[in-house]
């Protein structure tokens, strides 16, 4: 069975810490690294309008480069020149629910998630710690200034 680690990549301020921790632990455990980015779907009134006009809004994102492009491009750039590229996955929905679903179905050893810039745990990190079937590693947030880029 393939050993796998999932790195939950989201907001820029904690993103690179997550990627770095994912890369390090995947190398340490000899595991395959999967980078997951969950695109939030909104609830309430905005969610209603978003569902109503989702095709048009997707079209805008396509014109400007595709949904989730920013996050996954940042992640790809991060791993450029660092040997084998990890797997990238783009999912839409509620961040915590989708990550738990991925962990339930994906047979993962470890989930890497980011802390807030002040070091506290956000809803996603807290939810994963409480409910994830895999162990959870919280990477402390650092500004994404490119200084932590891995050197092979």
């Amino acid at each position: 069975m393939t050993k796998r680690i999932v790195a939950c990549f989201g907001e820029a301020e904690k993103g690179e810490a997550v990627l770095e921790a994912g890369r390090k632990y995947a190398a340490l455990l000899g595991a395959e690294l999967v980078i997951v980015h969950v695109q939030t779907t909104l609830t309430g009134m905005t969610g209603y309008y978003e569902r109503l006009f989702h095709e048009e809004l997707d079209e805008i994102e396509r014109i400007f480069g595709g949904p989730g492009k920013d996050e996954l491009l940042t992640a790809r750039r991060y791993f450029q020149g660092a040997g084998q590229l990890p797997h990238f996955k783009l999912i839409s929905g509620d961040v915590l629910a989708e990550l738990l679903k991925e962990l339930d179905n994906g047979d993962y050893l470890l989930a890497v998630v980011g802390a807030r810039p002040d070091g506290s745990l956000g809803r996603t990190a807290e939810g994963l710690i409480r409910r994830s079937p895999a162990d959870v590693l919280v990477a402390k947030g650092q500004p994404a200034d490119g200084r932590t880029r891995p050197q092979e």
Binding site: L42, G44, M45, Y49, E56, E59, I63, D70
Partner: protein, 434 residues
Amino acid sequence: MNHSVIIAIVVFAATYVAIGMEKIHRTTVAISGALLLMIFGVLDMKEAIGFISWETIGLLLGMFCIVSALSESGFFTYLALVLARRLNYDPVRILVVFPIVTGVLACFMDSITVMLFFATLTFELARLLKVDPVPLVVAEVCLANTGGSATLVGDPPNVILGTMLGYNFNDFVANTGPIALVAGAASVLYFYLQFRGKMRSSQPVDRAELDRLDPAGAIKDPKTMKMGLAAFGIAILFLIVHPFVEHAGIPLTVPMAALLPAFGLLVLGGRRTEIVLHKVEYEVLLFFMGLFIVVGGLEKTGVIRYLAEGVAVLFEGNHIGLIAALVWGSGISSAVVDNVPFALTMAYVIKDLAATSGAMALSMMVWAVAMGTDIGGNFTPIGASANVVAYNSLEKKGITIGWIRWIKLAVPCTVVALLISTVMLIAKYLIRFY
């Protein structure tokens, strides 16, 4: 105080609070409130249905169909991309022109749809231009709400006030239009002076990526776009001419002015009709229907009359004070509560107020409430539906504006716009042009 009065007040207050909390869908809240009034016997079914302003619902339905066709065709994306290209992707020019465009669009169509598209498009452009999208989007929202005050169809509160109290498109254009124009110009100037220096990126911009943006590629369906624009133009034309046509004996009412071109669009739409119909905001129509019944409960039990009498005593002989109170009271209330139920309640209150002896003309109060309610929505991220949609759309993209930043950006221009409205309304009262 009999039990019907207490039930009507409690149901109204609970509905108001629940809508503001957004824990339960606002349509569910409004319909539940209406049902509770019927279950407790405050209103029977016939009375409840009688309180629904079908003119409002018809006008909204017609405009929603037309806007649905325009958005489905890719009109908003096309418009934004053409503008951005014409402006040579200059962020300072975008800071001036995009809010003006959202303001003009919001004069004639639902500002929520306008902001849903423009917030997303502005974010994407700002990302490529490497500038902060927040001042751009807040400026667009402020202008959308201000522009919405200019016409009958610009903002839901105006639709309610106009259709319930009998003021047409031309009445709004002649009375709130000039005020909205001056207030809008002041807002654009404020954002320009405040943020022009911050609209220059220190990082290099990928010009090739900008040049790859193809406005023509944004048009999904040229036929639907042409038909949507034609229907939109006809609806506006009908709204302008309907008082004269009706006077000539042809029953072109306010809702018919929007429904006729909308149904023409649906009949000629072919296979696209189903998609256009699918995107009509039925939930909003149900929300309005529920609210009409909930506020109708207050009207039937006499609560609105007590309120109106209280206001009449408070401002007896002080009409200028009443104008200022209506503008600022409506403005501040709209900052914290949903402006649709607020406008609906105020429509009944000022109608009853106008019936008291020595009262100010109803039209003057309509313009004051419309300006206050529409512009006051700018104060906070929850002040108007367009704000909520723009705020959440940016949040989804990872940009959290936060209440404090929103207030810092929007309050100065909102205060200036409300001051302009107050002064111009008082001037209108003094020269008796209302």
